[in-house]
Symmetry: D3
Subunit: 202 residues, 6 copies
Amino acid sequence: MWTYEKKLQYPVNIKNPNPALANLIISQLGGPDGELGASMRYLNQRYSMPYREVAAVLSDIGTEELAHMEMIAAIIHQLTRNIDPDDIKGTSFAPYFVDHTTGVYPIAASGVPFDMKYVGIKGDVIADLNEDLAAEQKARVTYDNLLRLIDDRDVCEPIKFLREREIVHYQRFGDALRHTQEKMDEKNFYGWNPAFDKKFKK
Amino acid sequence: MWTYEKKLQYPVNIKNPNPALANLIISQLGGPDGELGASMRYLNQRYSMPYREVAAVLSDIGTEELAHMEMIAAIIHQLTRNIDPDDIKGTSFAPYFVDHTTGVYPIAASGVPFDMKYVGIKGDVIADLNEDLAAEQKARVTYDNLLRLIDDRDVCEPIKFLREREIVHYQRFGDALRHTQEKMDEKNFYGWNPAFDKKFKK
Amino acid sequence: MWTYEKKLQYPVNIKNPNPALANLIISQLGGPDGELGASMRYLNQRYSMPYREVAAVLSDIGTEELAHMEMIAAIIHQLTRNIDPDDIKGTSFAPYFVDHTTGVYPIAASGVPFDMKYVGIKGDVIADLNEDLAAEQKARVTYDNLLRLIDDRDVCEPIKFLREREIVHYQRFGDALRHTQEKMDEKNFYGWNPAFDKKFKK
Amino acid sequence: MWTYEKKLQYPVNIKNPNPALANLIISQLGGPDGELGASMRYLNQRYSMPYREVAAVLSDIGTEELAHMEMIAAIIHQLTRNIDPDDIKGTSFAPYFVDHTTGVYPIAASGVPFDMKYVGIKGDVIADLNEDLAAEQKARVTYDNLLRLIDDRDVCEPIKFLREREIVHYQRFGDALRHTQEKMDEKNFYGWNPAFDKKFKK
Amino acid sequence: MWTYEKKLQYPVNIKNPNPALANLIISQLGGPDGELGASMRYLNQRYSMPYREVAAVLSDIGTEELAHMEMIAAIIHQLTRNIDPDDIKGTSFAPYFVDHTTGVYPIAASGVPFDMKYVGIKGDVIADLNEDLAAEQKARVTYDNLLRLIDDRDVCEPIKFLREREIVHYQRFGDALRHTQEKMDEKNFYGWNPAFDKKFKK
Amino acid sequence: MWTYEKKLQYPVNIKNPNPALANLIISQLGGPDGELGASMRYLNQRYSMPYREVAAVLSDIGTEELAHMEMIAAIIHQLTRNIDPDDIKGTSFAPYFVDHTTGVYPIAASGVPFDMKYVGIKGDVIADLNEDLAAEQKARVTYDNLLRLIDDRDVCEPIKFLREREIVHYQRFGDALRHTQEKMDEKNFYGWNPAFDKKFKK
């Protein structure tokens, strides 16, 4: 279980509203490679992890992704507060506004609501860690692209922090995969699934 | 941000595997009225709540729903561990097994992956609290239906605990709605949205 | 069964085309809280309603929502008629035009096609009426937001009419919920489901 | 707008509950080729129909499909009433029951909720009428398949009635397409879209 | 099985980048009536076709649609190459860029990812060929609409080619339907399904 | 473009129908990690690949996955041919039969239609190759799980062949990733995206 502390992992202090930008950054909340999907991927993959150390990495990173989700939500909120209807009419923020006012709703930049189909959980340590490596790279690319489009330094700083964390996670999942391959049968580590096959349970 | 403690909110100790039952209970992980949707609904609604007390209730219940999500995941894991291919062949668990082995993947009992479309976030305190009241009742019904189908006492106990919590949450959201209506203009509390309209900001 | 009368519930007479506005208002046709979902929610919930009076309210409001759906479709049609390719090039209406020309297709303002996932039908009178109360508030907010963005009086009038009807429906569903709670066991009206449990059927 | 009469287009009187069968027939409520999609397809296509007679056919058939939707809902309701938890445990109806008790919720036989993606509305009379011809044939096949699986005469009779109506509709849409082709430019009836292109408006 | 030849069916040579236009044309890759859906519709329908000649038409056209898919992908790629962040900021291409950079990802113009729900496969020759006729007309309309919005001759030429092919396919499916009706029982060609019913197999 | 040869990559000759098994194997046609998604992932990723050799690997494997898709479709077809309504009534194949008879429609084992959301295309060579590595492992696990549930040797043989191919593809994508890392800036190969950033184009 989790304890909540009313504090962001990294500070978010945005002075200038920019609803159109909020609508791009929201992809890292509810988009295909966003933080919501990331936390749900890792927190649920834990149960079929055969090695305690790997499960611990997933608990750890999954919990951190919840904090990232909260940072993105704070960014979206701060970019859309204190605006008028005239700041919305005729802009790319209008469709979002119609259905969510200035609430925070997890969608992709395309407007498509978050879907668990973006997330793979196979119950196989090798496959799931490869999925996690891919997920971190895909999130890193999304942050790269956001940084290419953002001019406001107040927004760039927390995005850069989040981008750096994805690279750290990629490295930790890489270590977990190497650790796993060492633990498994050297000759053919696809030969059985330690989370399911009896051979492992002995 | 959140701190993780390796402990369930209520103990889950299931002795007998029952994959077909896991496939029903999973609806309270990734189904239309499940715990994942609940936590994401409340944690994201917080940002457009005009009253600090209501936002605090959402942080509180949203964090508890994360713990419920973890309890459901633990139930599913325990109901599907130590099984053989022969326990799966020809059963209703087989389709899930093909794509997820015995991993925990958030879907509805129907097999449909979790979708944020189940969740309403309108950025309006009256509408969002009505959504939350409905969400708690819908979750309560799902637990009622599960209890009608479960014979195993080990599984019933945590499900009963979770059902009770939904009723408590319903009452808390009811209190929050009454509190909100008192704070707003008595004559027409749909007249403006305190999270958006200037009138409120003064 | 229904009889069709070629007449709108409230007149729609729009002189000036405005495809970009059509693309926002369409959310009340096929969006998360739109009229199509509303009518399907109520018309299908009827079957598991244990009290005749409540079922009658659902038939009544569900049928009215079909008329609202038709009004929204008429608004969209009138906002997009008599336009040229030059009125479309480079506008936010272009993506819709590519796939639907100036036909009327039920989507959200985001462009996402209508999905029944937006609608909750639990087969439990308490839960379903709470869902309906939430649905009416969410629709009311969408109309509020549209009114914040619309300058054309021809469009505002029917939207205001529709908004008012949502508030009336909210009150009627509130009455139905109170009526239901009086009919059910006073001490614990979550104790059984009169649409399913035998206790009720005697 | 529509007036509701509390009467089915064709009587449904089912004596024996059969929840597993309900779960198959439900595809004609909320499945890919079901009645809900059919009525929404025709009622929304009307707006871009250039010929009054074709629009009238769509109003007419679209309204009839609402009545068919109601018949299917009545069949599902009657097949699932007066059942016990013991009639559900371990059956293919259990997943549906968990989320909807014995309420009527529009899904496909697969369990997937209705999605407007099944429906094509192109704003072009030739394309839309071809879509409608295909829709009627696909619905006919679904009824054929249901009839292959149903032994209960009480259920077969209304299903046969509905199947016959699809064939009648197919013929009416065929007539509408021939009528349309005669009205349009003989040499190249794909040359322009009378619902959009200026040439037609004169 | 297929052999790939590194050559487009019709040349695509676009000199001027136009990311906003790419975002419209992409509907013919991953949209409701796009080439990806078309090829998957025909290639998978083949298996339940009772007549060898009709199955051959489906193999043939399904394979050609793969080539069309490749042409659309090439158009999108050429319209988005050699662009700068400044060509993207504040444009309708920005949401796509955030999640896919300038990669080619099959979505509709609305931004919704391709979904097999757009495609009907009924295992019935009459229904499937009607579906195919509708599919070709719907694709033709999409190309018509794109041509109404495109000024660049380099882009129009391959789009015109693709549009012409849809009309040819429509005619070929019309021939296949007539051929099928002649082969089947004259009096009632909906009486049985030659791909399933025993009567046919003799 | 592609040339079709009427020949399977590996022979499929199944003597005994088994519709329930078909419904599991179909996940490798239209499921989250199936062959349709695989071919579309690779064939579309090609356009943003900065290195000719990597693009060639994607063309090659993407084309092979089309052949795999065809093998799975043939397996499903052969497992469902020559069956009677009595082979379907009351089985897990019935829901599929209602909507698709014995046609081949790309869905997951859960019954959910194929969705492009399963597929990641980021327009970044490092991220896309990590996605591909994960995809191959996830497909391998699905085949592993199918092999755990299949007793029929006629079905196992082609499935084993397909499983082996996934491992070969994983190795080829591993080689492509190493090749890519060597080509890029050694110190920080996340520093820029050679498919987008100017630095690379020189």
